[in-house]
Amino acid sequence: MRGRGVLALVGLLALFMLSGCARAPGTGLKVGVLVPLTGPFASQGQPMQQSLQLAVEELNRAGGVLGRPVELVFGDSKGTADATRSEALRLIQREKVKVLLGAYLSEETMAAAEVAAENRVLLMVPVAATNELNERVASQYDKYKYVFRTSYNIDQWAGLMGGFIADAGVSSYAFVGTNIRWNKELAQALRNCLAGSGIAPVYEEFYSPKEPALEPIVVALKGKDPGVVVLGDPGQQSINLVKKARDLGLNVPLFSVGGALGDERVARTLPAGGPLYFQAAAWDRTSEEARRFFSAYQEKYGYHPAGYADILSRDALFVLAQAVNKAGSLDVPRLIQTLEQGEFRAACGVYRFDRSHQARWGKGEGLEGMVVEWKDGRGEARWPRM
């Protein structure tokens, strides 16, 4: 009786191992994705995760990578560098992923870059904007050559926003952000960018993300009468600030970096007033691929994505998949060389990387972004004019 039990156990074990063996060759590219699924930035992690799931379905329907399916394994970066580091290590060492993709915050991404460099694993950065990443790749190429960023960095972001402000024909602007590092860097970069056009800030303030007194900011803005107010905070306080601005009769154009104010469900609840714009990486009319993505996302999840963390994450995976197909293997040095030298078409445009492994965003570079205006709860592309 006992012998039969042992035999059955051995049989089960063998079956389990065989099924594992049978599955292994089926997976071509295993990507470890680092996104904040819990914590204060989960609101941005969710669209990243959802759009990547859509992307992997699309890729696998089209035959996957090198003829084999792509698999995503998610790690929760929780909005902290520590959690990102430990999740990146888990994905590499236990899940045996070939490539990392993420994260959301710059702090998280810098931690992921360290892990990727130490373990010689490719890292695709889809959202974080800090310039420090480019500086590291440029100054310590041998160590950080594994890191590629598909999204725009702070200087490029300021360039995209500055282009719209300059074309709007205003003579002054105001910048209101939250007192975190990248917001201050963005304000500085925007100031530098617009100095050439003779457009200067008449008001530049940063509030505490904890409990900002927003009414006094709006009262001060009314006194300064800027041509446009740039809202640097992508978080929930930007929603509160727009509500206060409209309530207190500040009807000058408001121009957000995106994030919370790129959400159509929020836009529908905002009080009427002057124009409200936001910066997006892409919108429906950017390309046929972008239109298909927005349509599929809306159909599956029931709302229009903001055109930032969502579509940029999707594009990062598509650029990677194209690079693997072009390289013909998952060999890391060959992949690096392919990414450095190639051109990759995705929803936001054509991706090409400079020597600091930064995708080239800007006028005439193939990746120009889009300024969208909310009109009666619907987003309408406004700039660049096509």
Partner: protein
């Protein structure tokens, strides 16, 4: 002049919200000698239920009784079945209430998702002496004041006397026949209800998201400490002062300094008046 009037009005209205959240917290401390770290989560619950009612086609004011009753019952249940068994150790109670707050945040995320939500205003803005007067905020402040008046009135009735007795000496109150555990359960429920009502009243002005209760919790803790632990009247005064300070510093100095200055005012207040804003400093004769 218009600017100053606008700032004063905004500061006062913000102060009423701080006070409404803080009064519940200080009431619980006064009666039970515990710091309820799930208080902010009840604020968020109020906002989320309001959001849910608005999504279903109802108004935010219609949601008010639903919010209060739901939070009252949840609070009473929490006190009766979760906190009472561990109440002997204050530190354990604080940790348990923190765990409850985290649990509630996760539930909000599961039910409503991690996104930021928002609801539109229902009452218009009117112009008065050159300033924009927010009727919805005025109504919210009036409801807050009415609730606080009812609360202060109740504390002067026979039932209120029992509550005050429990606050002063729970053992003595038990000796004269007051059902102390029942008083504590009801007061805890009412406090949770007040926090949720504050969440309902301000839901139109803020974004609604799972962790939205954390800042009101910190702010109300600050107000309670500034006013004097357990002193309900002082919580109201402290809330108004801090609202005005935040508004003034943000305009005249810099928005970056408003939060820090508020904490600084609290620190200075505690150094100069250790028993709280309206407390009497004991003399050692």
């Amino acid at each position: 002049m218009e600017q100053e009037l606008q700032l004063a009005l905004s500061g006062l209205l913000a102060g009423f919200t701080y006070a409404l959240v803080a009064v519940g917290l200080t009431l619980v401390f006064g009666i039970m000698r515990v710091v309820n770290l799930s208080h902010g989560a009840f604020f968020a619950l109020g906002a989320f239920v309001t959001y849910g009612v608005v999504q279903w086609g109802g108004g935010s004011f219609l949601a008010l009784p639903v919010v209060f009753l739901l939070s009252l019952l949840l609070g009473m249940g929490l006190e009766r079945w979760v906190l009472r068994p561990v109440r002997r150790h204050h530190a354990v109670v604080a940790i348990v209430t923190l765990a409850v707050a985290i649990f509630m945040e996760q539930v909000f995320q599961l039910v409503w998702g991690p996104d930021y939500h928002s609801i539109p205003r229902e009452l218009p803005l009117v112009r008065f002496m050159g300033t924009a007067v927010d009727l919805q905020q005025i109504v919210a402040a009036l409801v807050a004041v009415a609730l606080l008046l009812v609360l202060f009135g109740l504390l002067r009735t026979k039932i209120g006397m029992a509550v005050r007795l429990v606050a002063q000496d729970a053992e003595g109150a038990a000796l004269v026949g007051i059902d102390v555990p029942r008083v504590q359960t009801v007061v805890f429920g009412v406090a949770c209800g007040l926090a949720a009502v504050a969440g309902n009243l301000t839901a139109f002005a803020h974004s609604i998201y799972p962790a939205m209760g954390r800042v009101p919790l910190v702010m109300s803790l600050a107000v309670v400490i500034f006013g004097g632990l357990g002193n309900v009247h002082a919580a109201l005064v402290a809330g108004l002062i801090l609202g005005l300070v935040a508004s003034g510093v943000s305009f005249y100095v810099s928005p970056e300094w408003s939060y820090v200055t508020m904490l600084l005012v609290i620190a200075v207040g505690l150094l100069t008046r250790p028993s709280g804003l309206l407390g009497r400093v004991g003399r050692r004769d």
